[in-house]
Symmetry: C2
Subunit: 241 residues, 2 copies
DNA sequence: TAAATAGTGTCTGTAAGACAGTATACT
DNA sequence: AGTATACTGTCTTACAGACACTATTTA
């Protein structure tokens, strides 16, 4: 077997395939949506024509790390360069890819819904946003359904005790908008007073002037103080897991 | 490049190396310890003679999945077959292994400290338990220091709101023993009354008769109701992250 | 009886939830 | 004025922490 990059001898093991997949979440139409791409129709490819998570092989020439690879794939599909991006986990076994023993490193990204008329890669025949719950019910290529399911579960779980949903909104945003986002992600209504106390006490937002409300009272708008990482609240929203 | 396992054609990419590493925690002498192994002394190998996490290449003939590979490596080093085992994350870049672009899938395991005189693989020159805090200060092979650091951080973080430390004890155990375990892992003392209320209210323990105490009042002993997964408490022990 | 360990009771503080109320905008 | 939206206040509940107390064992 071929050696790469150094004088160290390598055991002659077969190497698994190494891929990276990205679960990209955005809020569209007051719905949590994920981006799926269509596999090539070529019957030589595995799962031809099926929906899959955006992703693919690590390119050892181009990608300096797994994270860099995920960033590259995210940018290629959405144009977004500064998302919230966290590692979800890895999957690997002998049967998930018909081409052989294969591994994937899954990431999940939260992005602001693209402006409809920006010159970002538009949704197309090969790439489309689906409501998360619809996507979960689809038959997806590889084990992507399982990965997507883990991503949605992780997101919903973290939303119970972190400020993650703020990364789905374009800044500045109002507290009612943020509450709506929590409600959409979790699929249940929340109490306004408790919600506001919690967000403001957590001290991760800074005021950013009044909105020019379309109707009704104008609201205070906010920005995230530190976009690097989400804030953890001292308790869960709803007791239990 | 060689094709494996099927008729699907593969792009001729160089494939990264694929390894699995396991961070194995046990309680020894009222101290949180991790198992490290020595790299072979052969200068042909990377990091000869240095301490590293137990792990190595995925063997596509032998391992049907990443998890199976982690289980195999854990068993080889400790003889333990039913640990608490969870995926920690994956690391991969062009420079972590001098042999080339390499990835590792890291797992972390909580096991009961091996009986000293059982016929399990004994600690040896090539394999030794170190207090977690000492191990963190060592120079380790590859990026294993970073991985170990992530494992300790994850463990300490989850201990704040889950029943994880129970997996470090041999059953049955008493509440004072469990409390001691929490204190050892977190490095701080906890209030007895609050601790007991929390554990008993969480309802993940079942009574298992009285201990024959060596001195002092005999204590109720407990077993874990469901060893499959840890229980999540409704709040953190200490507010904040 | 003293020492050691196990276990309980009571009070306080914090933050979430329920829900009713007030404030400010537009029509 | 009426409606829609933003925001506040008050009461209750859940649970962690502090700390003093009681209970049961051995020496």
């Amino acid at each position: 077997m071929k050696k790469i990059g150094s004088a160290f001898p390598l055991a002659t093991f077969d190497r698994p395939l190494v891929t990276v997949d990205v679960v990209i979440f955005a809020l569209r139409n007051d719905t949590l949506t994920v981006l799926l791409v269509r596999r090539p129709a070529d019957p030589q490819d595995p799962f031809p024509g099926q929906w899959a998570l955006p992703g693919g092989f690590v390119d050892v020439q181009q990608d300096s790390s797994l994270l860099a690879c995920a960033v590259r794939k995210l940018k290629a599909k959405t144009g977004v360069t500064t998302p919230y991006l966290e590692q979800l986990g890895s999957w690997g076994d002998e049967s998930r890819d018909p081409r052989g023993w294969s591994t994937t490193h899954a990431y999940f990204a939260l992005i602001q819904a693209p402006e409809v008329d920006a010159q970002t890669p538009a949704p197309s025949l090969e790439s489309q946003w689906f409501p998360a719950d619809d996507a979960l019910r689809k038959r997806l290529a590889f084990d992507h359904r399982q990965i997507l399911s883990a991503a949605v579960a992780r997101l919903r779980s973290k939303v119970e005790y972190t400020s993650l949903p703020a990364f789905l909104l374009r800044e500045p945003f109002t507290l009612p908008q943020l509450q709506k986002t929590y409600e959409v992600v979790l699929g249940r209504a929340m109490d306004k007073s408790a919600f506001r106390k919690r967000m403001l006490d957590a001290n991760f937002l800074e005021e950013s002037g009044m909105t020019d409300g379309v109707q009704g009272r104008v609201a205070m708008s906010y920005r995230i103080k530190d976009r690097e990482l989400p804030t953890t609240f001292p308790r869960m929203f709803k007791s239990g897991e």
